[in-house]
Symmetry: C2
Subunit: 331 residues, 2 copies
């Protein structure tokens, strides 16, 4: 018999802040760059295409003494038929030393915060530090997490313009975030204003499920940093490929961004060569240089690695143990 | 928020009998044969070869409305350094319909009982029904589970001879099992007596971690059924290849037995053709014929499929819900 801690989403939010998640994700990227962490092939299966799906993402972080996985299930019927979220999942953290499970953590809360943290790490490493103006495209859970992460690492940000498909969602977003971050000016952007807003931004964040480019090549001025968050599956795309051909492109995992990230289309068309894509861990570790001038356009292509989930879940479990939060089950 | 049931090993043993596990495993094999279930690639990683390892086996059983995985960690130091078992693991059962986790079950208890059940299903389908004499090679946890499974499906068995590397373990095994099954005569077999014992058996069960053949070709008389349980990883072997060349060979998954089961060596040497290996699900479903005469030698090569774990865990969770056993966690 041994005891194993189980944390639900509320437990995670009690013990992990965005600042914590940023620290955890940065560590995961660095361990990956130092070959003290690695990801295993993603297992994905569609029961009914685009309606019922599952995936298992797994990896190890020997440098942190752990390995594990995240399993996520998707059922598009859930909100309408059952009044529950479409996505659900779990993260399991295992010990390399003993081979035993260390704990089980709600997968959706971890995914949400670690993806917000990923954007923050990308912007901190690649955006101009005095960036003030942001364009956000996408007002879902990631639209919130990305801005929360960004505001942690970009203290000069004072204006965030928001674009989304559904005007009422944009309005609700602007109201909610204005109240949460009173020092920042949030405003809605119409599709007619999108180009101008993009051209007047220091940082662009895209986090939609789009399958076609929303940000065109001529929307992006020199010096812009783009966090390309949404594209994480074959077929997804948010940026016109030409942007990638003239930018410094940094992915979380080269192999993954070429296969299923924002880079997939540009690479397939031969506009971007995989060997020209840097990895964020190498930039953080100083193995390669990130931004070299204020005129450079930089893109961080974040597809999401199991390492981020596992290490963030580990941090949550450690903090929860100290505070005795969550549930202990006897296995 | 939703609730998820967690079952430890003791909970599983309270709700699942060997007869239940046999029913569950047979169903998994049949669903696999009907293409209503499938396995995903196995993810395996060695942190220190033969000392610290992990694997993730996953699959779906759409016919049963579930999918899931088993994650297992191994640390050879555990017994000596920590006084805990070398293996630990968890099974997660997910719902296809909602994508949500249905529950979490101790992986070792499930593995143990479902492997015993697999041997029972193999023997029931392939051995001569009036089989009386058994040779068991291997006196570990599987030596117990295999005999428990076998005695469920082979009512005529009255004599079980037992061989193992460590005489004291064999003695302890014989004493324990004699007390548990008083209607069966258990006796120890020395290495000098192994050939004779094999030649006088109707059923041979091998469940050791051996990497070389323990049962030679001239140990096996016509009509014998062999449950080859131990070989489930590249490099493992318990039977001389010649046995497989003259037997009717049935695996759990053709692809898996060729790669990592008892069949691997015979196939590599060209003594056995993969296309000549049947699958147990096809035999159970009547798609192909199993044993056709009392003179035939039959071999069931069991490598273990995630399907067996997931469906047995599902059964345990359903029974536990009715009896309110285990722990409910709020996710």
């Amino acid at each position: 018999m041994y005891s194993m801690r189980v944390l639900n989403g509320r437990d995670v939010m009690k013990v992990i802040s965005m600042a914590d998640a940023i620290e955890a994700v940065e560590r995961a990227y660095r361990l990956f760059a130092r070959k003290e962490a690695g990801v295993f092939p993603i297992i994905a299966h569609e029961f009914e295409p685009e309606k019922k799906e599952m995936d298992i993402k797994s990896g190890h972080l020997e440098g942190a003494g752990i390995y594990g996985l995240k399993v996520v299930g998707y059922s598009s019927d859930n909100p309408k038929l059952r009044g529950i979220p479409a996505l659900a999942g779990l993260v399991i953290v295992m010990s390399v030393e003993t081979g035993r499970p260390l704990g089980l953590v709600d997968g959706m809360t971890i995914t949400n915060i670690r993806t917000g943290a990923a954007g923050a790490v990308g912007a901190k490493a690649l955006a101009r530090p005095n960036s003030e103006k942001v364009l956000l495209v996408g007002t879902g859970a990631q639209g919130r997490a990305q801005i929360e992460g960004l505001l942690h690492v970009m203290p000069a940000v004072r204006m965030i313009r928001v674009f989304g498909r559904t005007p009422s969602n944009v309005e609700a977003y602007v109201a909610e975030m204005s109240a949460k971050y009173p020092h920042v000016s949030f405003s809605a952007v119409s599709s007619q204003e999108l180009k101008d807003a993009a051209l007047n931004s220091d940082i662009i964040v895209t986090c939609t499920p789009s399958h076609k480019a929303l940000i065109k090549e001529d929307y992006v001025r020199p010096g812009t940093h783009i966090n390309a968050i949404g594209a994480d599956f074959p077929g997804k795309q948010e940026l016109e490929e030409g942007i990638l051909s003239k930018a410094l492109v940094v992915g979380d995992s080269r192999e993954q961004v070429v296969r299923q990230g924002e880079c997939q289309t540009a690479c397939r068309k031969g506009i971007l060569r995989p060997e020209d894509i840097l990895e964020i861990g190498d930039v953080l570790e100083g193995k390669v240089q990130g931004r070299t001038s204020d005129e450079q356009i930089t893109v961080f292509d974040s597809t999401g690695m199991a390492l981020q989930d596992i290490i963030t879940a580990q941090m949550a479990l450690e903090r929860a143990e100290k505070k005795d939060i969550g549930m202990l089950v006897q296995m």
